[in-house]
Symmetry: none
């Protein structure tokens, strides 16, 4: 955690955790002021870190009394959810999609930080030198590895 974006991300997540409702409302201008940055930096953080794929919903309103609301989607059974997430992996999976899924599963404590890194490492190694079909291999690898980890839990 060292860039401004990382700090802002962490701060929003902290707010979310301490909120009863799994959602927080914030003022873009206020926040930018708190972190001494331009307002659009907040949009940058929201659009790169709080995506739907990672389980967040962002709503906003402009004009007087405008706001940004960030919600964390709760799913009661994280394993069920994880499995359906896995099944939604099609025959191809690009790197960014993979990262989002892994980040999401880690957020929900379905996988640990070490497991995340390991999966990333394995995929990187296997996919590495390929010129074609990376996304196909990545999809199948990620699916198998996650199934394997989840199997060994239940």
């Amino acid at each position: 955690m060292s860039t401004l974006a990382d700090h802002i991300e962490a701060h929003i997540k902290r707010m979310l955790r301490s909120s009863q409702t799994n959602s927080v409302e914030l003022s873009r201008a206020q926040m930018a002021d708190d972190f001494s940055c331009v307002p659009s930096q907040i949009n940058y953080v929201l659009s790169t870190r709080f995506t739907l794929e990672r389980g967040y919903i962002v709503e906003s309103r402009r004009g007087g009394g405008g706001y940004i609301r960030v919600g964390h989607v709760q799913v009661d059974n994280s394993y069920t959810h994880a499995i359906s997430l896995l099944q939604s992996i099609g025959s191809e999976l690009d790197d960014k999609q993979m990262e989002n899924i892994l980040a999401h599963l880690k957020d929900r404590h379905v996988i640990s930080s070490g497991e995340l890194q390991l999966i990333r490492g394995i995929v990187q190694q296997e996919v590495g030198g390929m010129s074609q079909g990376k996304n196909v291999l990545r999809a199948s690898l990620v699916r198998s590895l996650l199934f394997f980890i989840m199997e060994s839990r239940s």
Copy 2:
């Protein structure tokens, strides 16, 4: 220990040993500067010495505040270990991959130095005169031998 790459390798391993968390974060540019070499030299060292097969996980981020993190995988977790081994021994295994795996296992005291040589010897003997399918045989042989050794320990 005499090439630059060796020194860089040793340095990273020193950092790892003195770290509490089994992982260190470094700046590629900074490191290149410290060793007075081009940045890509760092990539060379990482990709030849800190591979998954040897038990290392390398992550990185580009852009502002970018970094390279090198982690040393703990083998205390049996499925983690199983995954990385199964993954690294595919249906084929060349000599270099085998050496990497053996070096890793010896490093972690899963096999002794004598067992390493024994495996090497057996494989050499069996694979020796073959003209085709060496890598296939090697893969299955090493898998079985390691399986045998690990079974006999637990």
